[in-house]
Symmetry: C2
Subunit: 465 residues, 2 copies
């Protein structure tokens, strides 16, 4: 076949190309037709749309056509024309077809018929070839890019905080141990303990559960930073909302107090959702049709409305007075469950809610204590369907108050001296928050299981691919 | 003090603001002067430039001024005026100053005097407050952003490949084990082996050394993808070039052959370096003055010249005939050392070199075999000072050839079946490469130790902060 510059399918719907010869390459989604003419729906991953290839069978041999089945990869040269068929904007009248690789219909798992999301999880190595996962992962890309663009345009610096950490005090959950010791033959010290001096880092190390503490170091020097990277939880949670490995976004800003932190979180979320609406229209429409007819309406609603801002104490009061039967009891001091958060958002306010000023006992040690002595300047952003999508706070900037909180909680000073140094030397008010990236992708795609919005999910007993 | 909107230092050099009252916040770099007037150099991390704060001592008490020492954090309100002083573009005539936090001169480690990079590594939690590391980490940010922008603008999708992997065949180096087993009491099976059924994932798992294999799955469905995330090597390499945890960029493109892969690598590197020249001028000038007077010239040279493209066989011939004494012997079949790579780039061609078609024995199993049966379509991009900055290849797309290579090398099929499926079902030519992000940052900043271009380096026996 002659060599031509390849045109991506996403670019082949450009009416200014009609009448020209182009070369498209991709995977066959379907082939149908009669004994005179065949129609191949070809997709190359650049868009959810397939380009239709029209094949006049009098110009091709049976041997040429036989391997062109669902899943096969081909290169097609032909003339791009406006399509006569319903719902097709453009089609290619095939002149020559080259087969790159077939896909034996007897064994290729992705045949025409619909598959359950459960089945597709078992073949996560092939599921990006489906419409659903093509759409989800393209949207995931656009959201990730929007995150970088948002922060870059506003003078934040991307800070790569470490994944391997010797600190076990981040407190956000159970951790995975990282080691080069031979588990068949763990070295021992004279008194029988594990001899970590023989380990790679000379001490026990784990995978981080948050980059925040290092992020604060960045904010207290570069002014405004954000992290965006993998974080880990070794919790045995087999739910549609939990992953052992997931991506987190953590901005941190010197001189921001809690109000500015809320402004940032609300503006940031609205920007990201608006970006998806603007850049992922075809994919969102597909997901809306297939899974969730209210999806696009829900996204627009979040973009167009102010978030409610409410102290925890008032939120608890609303829940107590609601008369609603909750599975978990609600009272001042309780850590709110997803059912409580969703009640406030979906039933009571019918808007995203930022809940603030939580009891200090249920929040992390580094949050700034309010003057009441019992609540801290925390803020959780609660979304419909998702519950908590962002958790953040103004940080305690007083060296003395932070130190006494660390001592109260018996957090080992070996893990804390460097963090305390930000308060010893040139401390200042500062604030930040964490956004679970997969929670955002769940919300924007309308998918309901977090395993379906990350390419290769890691969950208890599952580290395939 | 009155509440005003804060102006970042980077925005305070805007002549259109002269004559207006502004509020800047930041950390004191130096304070000098006489008994009538003081000059505070203030920095907030937004730029390498300090803004000069002019303090008329008749308006402030001694008690107010005393804690304003190097490292202290203050908020200043005053009028922005054009500076009369040499080398200062703008200064603020202080009206009021609020102290956020002092920095006791007896213990604050970053006093005026210069510090060695070695010393600053020991206080990595504070070093971003220095000019050098402020510049390095701002440049790092801009390069990271440029990577996302380059790929996004060209229709690549960002694919988050997994960090925790059950596969140990990636072959790029020694791996860290990830486990939730209790090392004090490792569970055993009846025959005395480690009982991994009790581990979090039910089998041994490690930290990935490359996202490429999963990246190929992405390319063979979404068309063009890139990864950009942390990767790990558990090698006991205490050198200025190696980290145990580092960030890697790995694009992978369906239908690209080796020539297009080289075009992409060259265009990509030039784009990134040009982006840094355009967006990091102040920081590059500072680093150039302080560490490496040829830095900017070297960057421009790379942007402006075509890279040499040369088969490995010819490269070896040049080295053999050079008459140069190398520490490691050079012969056809040898894995080239940094000294060889740098000789070709710095001495012989005086240009970046892309070396291609390496002997198959020294390259990974997945590279496409050439018709000669003994070389593969590998490509390494060699840079001055750095040596290999990019390694890539066209991938073997033939199921049979790939399978026989996997069998030849006794790679376990349990790790390979899903990778082989891309060749079983709709295979196609495809290519990609890996860029070690810290190597790029080293090159662009002119720094010489890789520990100085990542905020919190992980190396043997070192996982601090």
């Amino acid at each position: 076949m002659e060599t031509m510059k390849r045109t991506k399918v996403v670019d082949a719907f450009d009416a200014s190309l009609y009448g020209t010869r182009i070369n498209v390459k991709g995977w066959v989604r379907t082939r149908r037709g009669n004994k005179h003419i065949n129609f191949i729906a070809l997709n190359d991953g650049s868009t959810i749309k397939n380009i239709q290839v029209v094949v006049d069978l009098s110009k091709f041999t049976e041997a040429e056509m036989k391997p062109i089945t669902t899943g096969a990869c081909i290169s097609v040269i032909g003339t791009l024309v406006e399509s006569q068929g319903k719902g097709q904007q453009a089609e290619i009248q095939a002149e020559s077809i080259e087969l790159y690789g077939g896909a034996d219909p007897d064994v290729y798992p992705l045949q025409k018929k619909g598959h359950t999301l459960e089945f597709l999880r078992e073949i996560a190595h092939l599921r990006p070839r489906t419409n659903t996962f093509g759409a989800v992962f393209r949207i995931r890309h656009h959201l990730a890019y929007a995150i970088h663009k948002y922060f870059n345009d506003r003078g934040f610096f991307y800070l790569n905080t470490p994944l391997i950490t010797a600190s076990d005090c981040e407190g956000a959950g159970a951790m995975f141990q990282v080691t080069t010791l031979d588990l068949n033959n763990v070295p021992r010290t004279d008194d029988g303990a594990v001899d970590y001096s023989a380990d790679f880092f000379g001490k026990p190390t784990s995978l981080t559960v948050s980059g925040q503490l290092e992020g604060e170091l960045g904010a207290m020097s570069l002014g405004a930073i954000y992290t965006f990277g993998p974080t880990f939880r070794a919790e045995n949670s087999n739910t549609p909302r939990h992953l052992a490995e997931f991506w987190m976004v953590e901005p941190e800003v010197a001189f921001n107090e809690i109000e500015e932190n809320m402004d940032l979180a609300e503006d940031f979320l609205k920007y990201l959702i608006r970006y998806a609406l603007d850049h992922c229209q075809d994919d969102l429409e597909f997901l809306s049709q297939m899974y969730d007819s209210e999806l696009i309406e829900r996204l627009k609603f979040v973009v167009e409305n102010d978030f409610v801002r409410l102290p925890y104490t008032e939120g608890v009061k609303i829940l107590e007075e609601s008369g609603h039967k909750f599975e978990y009891p609600v009272y001042w001091g309780a850590d709110l469950q997803s059912e409580h958060e969703r009640f406030l958002v979906e039933e009571h306010f019918k808007k995203p809610v930022i809940l603030t000023d939580y009891p200090k006992e249920i929040k992390a040690f580094y949050m700034k204590l309010n003057d009441d002595g019992k609540t801290v300047r925390a803020m959780d952003v609660l979304f419909p369907r998702i519950g908590e999508i962002i958790g953040g706070s103004q940080r305690e900037e007083s060296y003395e108050k932070l130190l006494s909180r660390i001592e109260e909680l018996h957090i080992p000073m070996k893990d804390m001296w460097w963090y305390l140094d930000t308060r010893r030397f040139g401390t200042a008010p500062h604030s930040g928050f964490g956004l679970g990236f997969e929670r955002l992708v769940l919300f924007v795609t309308g998918m309901t299981n977090i395993r379906d919005v990350i390419p290769f999910p890691r969950t208890p007993k599952n580290a395939e691919f």
